[in-house]
Symmetry: C2
Subunit: 291 residues, 2 copies
């Protein structure tokens, strides 16, 4: 069965799915995106992702390509046509196609692409073993709250991490604070079992999974402090983890050369991971357009 | 006659010219570009543009899509097929097409797109009247020396300028220094007839026209100081202008609410504009692959 992509109103074999060379996404990175995790037939936190997409587009003055209910139908159709049960639904919206000119073109129609990619269930080894982090200077622009496709600094950071054998890069600002990961939010747990993560604002993306974790941690009786933490604080943390839609709560067991605690995933991290998986299992199945 | 674009080895009617939705240029802004001015059958500063493209690609660890001589032949073919005498030759190179993953894919082939667009000769009114500038915070990333397609902050700045009736935005850093324009370099002339422009480095793009102006100004006996200048200094300058490949030396007669000097283009600015036009006229015709 060939993969099918949605491109500007048509369902097309993935292999032939293309956009015009003057799509402003290609020439100007003039667009926003979302990745919605699909877990055993559930679109996790679908509405929050769509709300965030709306916000990104609004901040960029890009019109919404279609009404929310219509978009949810397309999402379901893409999932269905790709027979995706567990995987990632990718949505990209750009300002559209126009002769190259920095200024926003008049009366342009936004372009929308949607793809689905089935992936294996999240590997238990990553939860059992944890991952290694490389810290690196945060050289991004000043509007990281917008989930734009201008991801060049992010991919350079991720690649730098991979080249040192690390799984993810944590970005560090001029005050030695960890802002977030190259494609995830960054967390530590203090000796007092307090969860610490950078507050939302223009320096980081307001992670959907980050927000879910804050809620779940509250339910479990833990305190979350939304404040910046330094690299040194991270080195000396009791636990550390990263979060995003596809990695849930993934333990961090090493940051640069510093082994975190005893080098094993922390108890609170594991508990949150399990709680988050239960949250996904309890989510509404994909057929439903309710909620 | 239809416009023709070059896309990954093929010459295609512009209208149908497309790239795959998983071209990393589209999903990650993972690429670099150049715009080469074509003036009356001359590719202005062609080799310097190609050298800068090489440098951008090298900084991003993207392989060169083809040898320089081959690329120059494609450039000529694109100019020829579009019967372009005066216009803009646009070259974009991205890391290529691969399943979406932040890390650099292994053994990927870079993608290259080239377009040509004929435009009218540079309007004399812009030289006679000058243009208005809006200053705005520079929110870009820390590697503006790379001519990448991650231009989202640039287009937002240009749009903000347009919405106030200004022609270009000058970007201002946290110390109140003007770094450069959203798609041009920024210059002032002091009361002592000294030309001032931000030094090259990671904060600005090393403009090809900027470099030509430095040389031409030297020939004319003027002093150029490559140092940052503040917005206040710009307001009070004797002259001001912007430069890039398509705007040569364009007088600036107003910055925000401040009229520059008597509101007319400055003498030195006009002289440099005329000298730059002569430099273009004296450039080798396009047929030549020499030099």
């Amino acid at each position: 069965m060939p993969r099918i992509a949605y491109v500007n109103g048509a369902y097309i074999p993935h292999r032939y799915a293309s956009v015009h060379i003057e799509d402003r996404g290609y020439q100007f990175s003039d667009g926003a995106y979302e990745v919605v995790n699909t877990y055993r037939g559930r679109l996790i936190d679908e509405l929050r992702h769509l709300q965030r997409l709306d916000r990104s587009l609004s901040e960029l003055s890009i019109a919404s390509p279609m009404a929310q209910q219509a978009m949810r139908l397309v999402m379901r159709e893409v999932v269905r046509r790709n027979r995706m049960t567990t995987g990632l639904l990718y949505i990209q919206v750009t300002r559209g196609v126009a002769p190259r000119d920095h200024k926003f073109p008049r009366s342009i129609k936004p372009a929308m692409v949607m793809t689905a990619r089935s992936i294996p269930e999240f590997p238990q080894e990553m939860v059992d073993d944890g991952v290694k982090i490389l810290t690196i200077a945060d050289i991004r622009w000043a509007r990281c709250d917008i989930k734009s496709v201008a991801l060049l600094p992010n991919i350079l950071a991720k690649q730098a991490a991979a080249e040192t054998g690390a799984y993810e890069a944590w970005l560090v600002d001029e005050c030695d604070y960890v802002t977030e990961g190259s494609s995830s939010n960054a967390w530590i747990v203090t000796v007092d079992n307090i969860l610490v993560t950078q507050p939302t604002g223009r320096r980081i993306l307001a992670g959907i999974t980050r927000q879910a974790i804050i809620s779940l941690a509250g339910e479990l009786g833990y305190t979350v402090e939304e404040r910046p933490f330094t690299v040194t604080e991270a080195y000396q943390a009791k636990e550390a983890f990263m979060s995003n839609s596809s990695h849930f709560v993934t333990p961090v067991t090493q940051i640069d050369d510093a082994v975190i605690a005893n080098g094993k995933p922390g108890n609170l991290t594991i508990e949150l991971h399990q709680r988050y998986v239960r949250f996904m299992e309890e989510s509404a199945p994909i057929d439903s357009l309710m909620g």
